[in-house]
């Protein structure tokens, strides 16, 4: 199972990447929204974990890009406190789940597993 992780914070990105790899998932990383959108266009990923606020393109734009591909890819959004409006918007645009930062990597893995069961 191939998972795309889009996050501009290096520590969070590395931690999620290593955690997913430890659990046996294949991972592609993107350091900003634009790289993530390019990846979505060129690679068939099975699941996306994306931060909402990122340079060049936001998590919301990633959701729109996924919609344009016509594929149904589960997306877990990571948001900061106080971004409720953005989170609601993200759900409207097709986000499957979201987690608020600071977050627990263990809980994220559980959510990934839950979503991957539905694939």
């Amino acid at each position: 199972m191939l998972i795309l992780v889009a996050e501009d914070d290096e520590l969070i990105l590395k931690t999620i990447e290593h955690k997913l790899q430890k659990e046996g998932y294949e991972v592609i990383v993107a350091h900003n929204g634009k790289d993530a959108i390019d990846t979505i266009k060129n690679v068939t990923v099975d699941l996306i974990i994306s931060d909402i606020m990122m340079p060049f393109a936001s998590g919301i734009e990633i959701l729109s890009a996924v919609k344009l591909t016509g594929r149904s890819i589960p997306i877990i959004m990571l948001s900061s406190m106080g971004q409720e409006d953005v989170v609601l918007n993200a759900f409207d645009l097709g986000a499957s789940d979201f987690m608020v930062k600071p977050f627990s990597p263990n809980e994220l893995i559980l959510r990934v597993k839950r979503l991957s069961l539905k694939l």
Partner: protein, 358 residues
């Protein structure tokens, strides 16, 4: 007059130039050396940051399995600049994660014995360094630092005493707010929000404490307490809050209106309407907004009265908007169509309807 007539020989002149030349060379060398040092430091910080990130990430992902994989950090601990960066990065990292990941980060702090560096900062002179030390010890939950941090509650620097206040609340919860009993300085809006956010519950004796704080001569403490009452829905203190509508500070009275609405009971609307005439315009506007949110049909007559009789346009406009919210659209339309209505009232109603419809 020539140099020779001054008695300066060619030899002396040459020596002078040579000395100046050497001094310039020395200066250039010093600048180059300093720039190189700065560059090296910058490169080090970049490399060290990556190294620390790797260590934190490894610890979160693999935990105990990687306990001995030190990535050369032990060797770098002899540099104080590395230890400072390490501490700072751990504090920043701790804010990004929750649950077991936070515990792993605190374990790194213990394993590398960074506690003494954080304690050392408490004895520095510069306020930002002391505040940094308090923040580090608080984030890493070093409870043994509590008594030392408590002493900073009366430090003259706001940066220091604010960090100490936050630490007390982080360590002790509501009990940590005891500094409010005799706090002489203003608690900034930002600090109030920070403290409120970090509190998740109140203690059994909280009511008595908050009752005292409501009588504090420090207005910011009264406002903060009103916010606490609002957050934790302390209905029992409604009457004390109500009496504060006569407080000397306008800002306190504005917060009183917000808190009364949050603790609303069957008398709140009557209390607010009764207090309205004696308040300045800013507080009156807050009362109107509160009545608007309360959506109580009893306010309808009051709003109509303000629309027609109040002297301030902002109050008339707020009254018209509230009437619309209460479902008095027909009344407003009648006023518009009534040829006897005053022109300014018609303009205000049109504006209010436009705001509501758009």
């Amino acid at each position: 007059m020539t140099l020779f007539s001054l008695g300066i020989s060619v030899h002396e002149l040459f020596l002078t130039f040579l000395v100046i030349f050497l001094l310039v060379l020395l200066l250039i060398a010093a600048v180059v050396f300093y720039s190189f040092y700065q560059y090296k430091e910058l490169t080090n910080i970049h490399e060290w940051s990556d190294l620390i990130d790797e260590k934190v990430s490894d610890s979160i992902v693999y935990g105990e399995d990687l306990k001995n994989k030190d990535r050369g950090l032990n060797d770098l601990l002899r540099f104080s600049s590395f230890r400072n960066l390490f501490l700072q990065k751990l504090v920043d990292s701790e804010k990004k994660f929750s649950g077991g990941a936070q515990l792993e980060i605190r374990k790194i702090f213990d394993d590398y014995d960074l506690k003494k560096d954080a304690f050392r900062r408490l004895h520095q002179k510069k306020p930002y360094l002391i505040a940094g030390g308090i923040q580090e010890l608080t984030t890493m939950q070093v409870t043994e630092a509590l008594s030392e941090i408590e002493a900073f509650l009366i430090h003259p620097s706001p940066q220091v005493y604010q960090e100490a206040q936050y630490a007390m609340v982080t360590f002790k919860g509501f009990e940590g707010l005891h500094f409010l009993d005799s706090h002489p300085y203003k608690i900034s809006e930002w600090q109030q929000l920070r403290l409120l956010r970090s509190l998740s519950s109140i203690t059994s004796d909280a009511e008595a404490m908050m009752k005292d704080w409501l009588e504090s001569p420090n207005d910011s403490i009264v406002i903060f307490t009103l916010r606490l009452l609002k957050k934790f829905q302390v209905l029992a203190l409604y009457d004390q809050v109500h009496t504060l509508l006569n407080h000397s500070s306008e800002n306190v009275r504005i917060q009183v209106v917000h808190t009364m609405l949050a603790l609303e009971n069957t008398f709140t609307v009557d209390h607010l309407i009764a207090a309205f005439p004696s308040q300045p315009e800013e507080v009156q506007l807050e009362i109107l907004h509160a009545l608007h949110k309360a959506k109580d049909a009893r306010s309808s007559v009051f709003f109509k009265e303000q629309l027609h009789s109040h002297s301030a346009t902002t109050i008339k406009l707020a009254a018209a908007e509230s009437l619309y919210t209460l479902g008095e659209e027909k009344y407003l339309m009648d006023q518009l169509e009534n040829p006897d209505s005053e022109q300014d009232i018609k303009l205000i109603i049109k504006h209010a309807l436009q705001l509501k419809i758009c």
